[in-house]
Amino acid sequence: MSFSELRSDEEIARLYEKYVNTVYRVAFMMLKEKAETEDVVQNVFIKLMNSDNEFTDDEHILRWLIVAAKNECKNLFKHWWKSKRNHLEDAPEPTYSDNKDTDSIMEQVKALPEKYSLPVYLYYYEGYKTYEIAKILDVNEATLRSRLAVAREKLKLMIGVNDDE
């Protein structure tokens, strides 16, 4: 897929429709706040429009978007006033349902540090293998597995260990 193709409105619209939810979730898992998540989503897709990367397929684009979203969030974290603002502002706006069980689970996931929550999301929702997540997040696979294990422990997750782990 070439740069010029990515620049077309139609292509951007297609990719946006296809991947906006994933980018939104990745950003939300890290920022836990709706307004900032929207900012990150916009910036990520703007970067995609301006990127001259040669993408091999949509899956390549998706992985690029996930990394870009993670980096964009990290840039926000870098600034001291980010943590300060968290204290000043109200709790994150509830963006999901009234289902108490689901919301309770999400609260637990949100409470996880990003290094745990993002792997959990990519593994259990996006369905990536651990070696794929390790590559996307640029961490050692053993480290990634360890983080998943810690996350499961923290979440008291009652799930089996798959073959790829």
Binding site: V67, H79, W80, W81, S97, T102, Y124, L155, I159
Partner: protein, 229 residues
């Protein structure tokens, strides 16, 4: 609460932007495309308007540089170049570059070992990023050199941002809730809001932006004194 994989999946599934959100974001994205190099606005930061005016200058600076990426976006590699023995990567869509320093290199640059200098309350965990990211222009002029030293403990936190562009804090200090001048002539701009404490100090040309949460008055005072003295 015990949970299973299905419940976890469902909970992720519900983190979905509404159609209105999607439309708004897409509209902004396409507007950005049409306006090419137009600077992207961050509507969320409008919320900061209620914060004390003393933070405004710092926020503007931080915001301006916060739009730069610190990693390669494809997770693999792009056109890295070597400069003075350090790897420099293209940052974003401008002519700015970034280079990474270790903390020791940063201390050498600032002329002060910040972690050693700070009197942070006991039992706080040092959560400071060990890599310091500088932004430089194509002529190797340093555009941004700030780094945040972060310490956390339960619901309490200490953030001290440093920069050699101390003069940027001059106006901020004067806008603080109160100013305190020390015997050596150093002036600190201090603002206290409930459990929040912030102070801005320029000491030996190094600017310090302090933000703490849930510290006692004595702990805040000790932290500030450790910078002044």
């Amino acid at each position: 609460m015990m949970m299973n994989e299905r419940q976890l999946f469902d909970s992720f599934d519900k983190i979905t932007p509404t159609q209105a959100q999607k439309d708004k974001m897409f509209k902004n994205i396409m507007a950005s495309k049409r306006q090419e190099k137009k600077v992207v606005t961050f509507p969320a930061y409008r919320k900061l308007a209620f914060m004390a005016a003393s933070f405004a200058c710092v926020i503007v600076c931080a915001f301006a540089f916060g739009m730069q990426s610190d990693d390669t976006e494809d997770g693999i590699s792009t056109a890295n170049i070597e400069m003075h023995g350090r790897t420099i990567t293209p940052a974003g869509q401008t002519n700015e570059f970034q280079k990474t320093l270790s903390l020791n290199e940063y201390y050498e640059y600032l002329g002060v070992d910040v972690e050693d200098k700070l009197d942070v309350p006991k039992d706080f965990t040092n959560d400071t990023d060990e890599k310091v990211c500088f932004f430089i222009d194509e002529n190797q002029n340093i555009l941004e050199d700030s780094h945040t030293f972060r310490y956390v403990k339960d619901e309490a936190s200490v953030n001290v941002a440093t920069t050699k562009f101390g003069e940027r804090l001059t106006d901020v200090i004067s806008l603080a809730q109160e100013t305190k001048t020390y015997p050596d002539g150093t002036t600190a701009g201090i603002t206290k809001i409930d459990s929040e404490f912030s102070a801005f100090v320029i000491k030996n040309s190094v600017g310090y932006s302090i933000a703490t949460y849930n510290l006692t008055e004595t702990e805040n005072e000790n932290l500030l004194n450790s910078i002044i003295n």
